[in-house]
Symmetry: C2
Subunit: 145 residues, 2 copies
């Protein structure tokens, strides 16, 4: 999660909303992919940090299934990213700050713990939440001011 | 939607789940992008038809906002795709068959009509639903044997 925070800082440095994400193999800890938000640079509405990291991890292993992997991301995933986590069968998700506007893991929806969908995921919320949220607050304050 | 159905048939022909999608400018009807499901070929869990079409449309216009566009897709979008529709501010969504397993527009969730999220979308469900569903049934029947 420290690494995800470093990635979030790199996003802020280029004017992107500071969110960072890492995908690693749960048992070995080997990192498969890391990314930060690139929506503005790429004009791509799907270029959220965790979305890019998951797609890259799939590319690296040549499979769309990540049951044996964990995702660490500094902000609670939105419905799109939570949906991808389900579709990619990510085994475990660890996230930092809750997202009151779009959080789809605990805040507005609980998409990762819905028995009707074909995958359920282990969730750990609130890791380095304060640091993750502080980065976002500082970014939006600077943007306004 | 006829065009989306043709695209879905092309997916089936290469062994992909038959779903097709088209993104067009709502007023002019000009098509910006079309796609079909490519999850297996690309080993990419995000390669759903409507997901690929929306990303391609953004690439074509160089913007991640599609308020002036419509999406036609043969199957009800899943949470990931519905989340992208919200994130990309797609103005209107027309879909064919309901998806009892993962539908996030009307069946399991109503993500496109949630006032808490920062975009609401016009929805029209059930267009060419029977043809769309028949394609999927035939595909899964052949797969089983």
């Amino acid at each position: 999660m420290r690494r995800a925070l470093d990635l979030a800082r790199r996003a802020a440095a280029i004017g992107e909303v500071p969110v960072g994400a890492v995908v690693y193999e749960t048992e070995s800890g080997r990192i498969l992919a890391e990314a930060f938000n690139l929506r503005e640079r790429d004009a791509d509405p799907s270029a959220h940090a965790e979305f890019l990291a998951i797609r890259e991890a799939c590319r690296v292993i040549g499979d769309w299934r990540l049951n044996h992997c964990s995702l660490a991301v500094t902000l609670e995933p939105c419905p799109m990213c939570a949906g991808l986590i389900v579709n990619a069968r990510v085994g475990r998700v660890i996230y930092g700050a809750n997202d009151p506007k779009a959080g789809a893991v605990r805040t507005l929806y609980t998409l990762l713990e819905d028995d009707r969908l074909n995958h359920a995921c282990e969730v750990r919320a609130g890791l380095l939440a304060e640091e993750s949220a502080a980065l976002l607050r500082a970014f939006f304050r600077d943007l306004r001011g």
